[in-house]
Point group: C2
Chain length 293, copies 2
């Protein structure tokens, strides 16, 4: 069922192009406009048939749109907001898909004109691939999408964004932005940082070892390389924009790792066994919560 006469997706990478596909398949939008600074991305999106129009001018893409979703790296939010602000339709809803919510509220909120509604969002979904070709309509199926409307946000606007994501298969949670950023720091940002680090550490090895790291990656390492293949710009921006929460979680992690290092050095097997038994139970919680199989 058509929920918006026109939606505009600013940034047509993995997430933007997945929204386009899901919205089109489910008939959620009368028309879909794409705005993307890359001409190649615009042409690709048109060629894929996932949008009705595509423009390098964000002002053009957002014209008459009832819903505008920012799907760009966090560092681009402010510039996009500045360029589109004067061209937004009165009553339009603005949302986004970024992994950090306090910074987008800080960067975008003050630039929006009176009479439009800002409902920040974050779909917990993705892959390690990037670009318009990487998207697929089922990406959000059965996955959480967290909305973090600032205090005072129009409730009808929040309800519309909620219904939009539910129509793409997501389950919705409303959360305070600062709490969101702390939860994601431990569930997402720190795991990515650690994966990037260990893959980098392996990449710095002596040549005699490096080839073997790839060859024997099935022993555990390759799970980290998949995570560490995620979009470099997007992730640079996540760490720069969620600095305090990431540094807090990183500090806790480092303390725990140092304690394990000490247990290994001194041969304290019971310390290792106790932790390894406890972590198995957490995995069971995830299976029980149907977040993996």
């Amino acid at each position: 069922m058509t929920m918006f006469d026109k939606i505009a997706l600013i940034g047509i990478g993995l997430i933007g192009s997945s929204i386009a596909r899901a919205a089109r398949r489910n008939g959620l939008a009368g028309s879909i406009a794409v705005g993307d600074a890359s001409e190649a991305h615009c042409q690709k999106a048109l060629a894929l048939g996932i949008c009705d129009s595509a423009s390098m001018q964000v002002s053009q893409a957002v014209k008459d749109a009832d819903l505008v979703v920012l799907c760009v790296p966090a560092s681009a939010n402010a510039e996009v907001a500045e360029r589109m602000a004067a061209h937004l339709k009165p009553g339009a809803i603005i949302s986004d898909v970024g992994s950090v919510k306090q910074s987008v509220i800080r960067d975008v909120g003050p630039l929006l004109p009176e009479g439009v509604h800002f409902v920040p969002g974050h779909p917990i979904a993705g892959t390690e691939f990037s670009g318009p070709e990487a998207g697929f309509a089922d990406l959000f199926q059965g996955r959480w999408c967290i909305l973090t409307p600032p205090t005072g946000t129009d409730e009808a606007a929040t309800a519309k964004v909620k219904a939009f994501w539910e129509s793409m298969g997501s389950m919705i949670e409303i959360m305070e932005p600062g709490h969101h950023d702390m939860v994601l720091a431990i569930t997402s940002h720190l795991p990515h940082l650690i994966a990037y680090t260990i893959v980098g550490t392996a990449g710095n090895l002596e040549e005699s070892l490096k080839g073997e790291v790839i060859r024997y990656s099935a022993s555990g390492f390759r799970d980290f390389t998949r995570i560490a293949a995620s979009d470099p710009i997007m992730w640079r921006d996540v760490f720069l924009n969620n600095r305090d929460a990431v540094l807090e979680m990183l500090q806790r992690f480092t303390e725990d790792l140092t304690a394990l290092q000490r247990a290994i050095r001194w041969g304290e097997g019971q310390v290792l066994e106790d932790l390894f038994t406890r972590t198995r139970a957490i995995r069971k919680g995830i299976i029980d919560a149907k977040q993996d199989s």
Copy 2:
């Protein structure tokens, strides 16, 4: 084709029971005997029909065996070797499947009688599940198996172990034991240690955050929980037995992580972007090497 009249598998967990299934399916053994300290494991193995006999007495299991494969946690190797030594058939080949090779050579080698051949091995394959039910015949298909025969090992014995693993679908590499332990420290042992740590760090969070960690685990964390669900005893023994190599790699990792922490604190985006771009290339190497898809 039958390669051994009788093989004995000591320890019938994930790896032992996978060998039993693969050997049986491919007719590699005239008969398969299981030795396992757990009565429940022995009964389970018999009930599953993956062996011809099962005993809690290792001396019984190895009797007349042409190939004995130790599939127990590293800390149990010495005791098993002591119990079986006097009962080994002259000319028998002894092998193992452990993740650390210098320690099994140190612990088992001196206990074996003259006239038997010791060819340590390590199949790079596994899952996070444990026990006789967890095994499957295809576990080794397309995966590497590293053999680390000590200097002076009978070449015919090494060739037989190589052919045995090849018949179960593995690709073989012969490696010096110390080199093996260093390669696995970075490709396997450190990734497991880090996964255990971060899952433990999350488990220590305030109650208000803990439930959400499970709920939003799809954002990266759940890949770590799968790794951190691996067998606690086996992994405790890996870290205790490959201490020096693990501590060396852990030190390198910590230095790299500290450098990233500093870059985040000081907002050095280029440092982050450079690393994240480099790690993407390493992932590509793994795909190209067909170690993941």
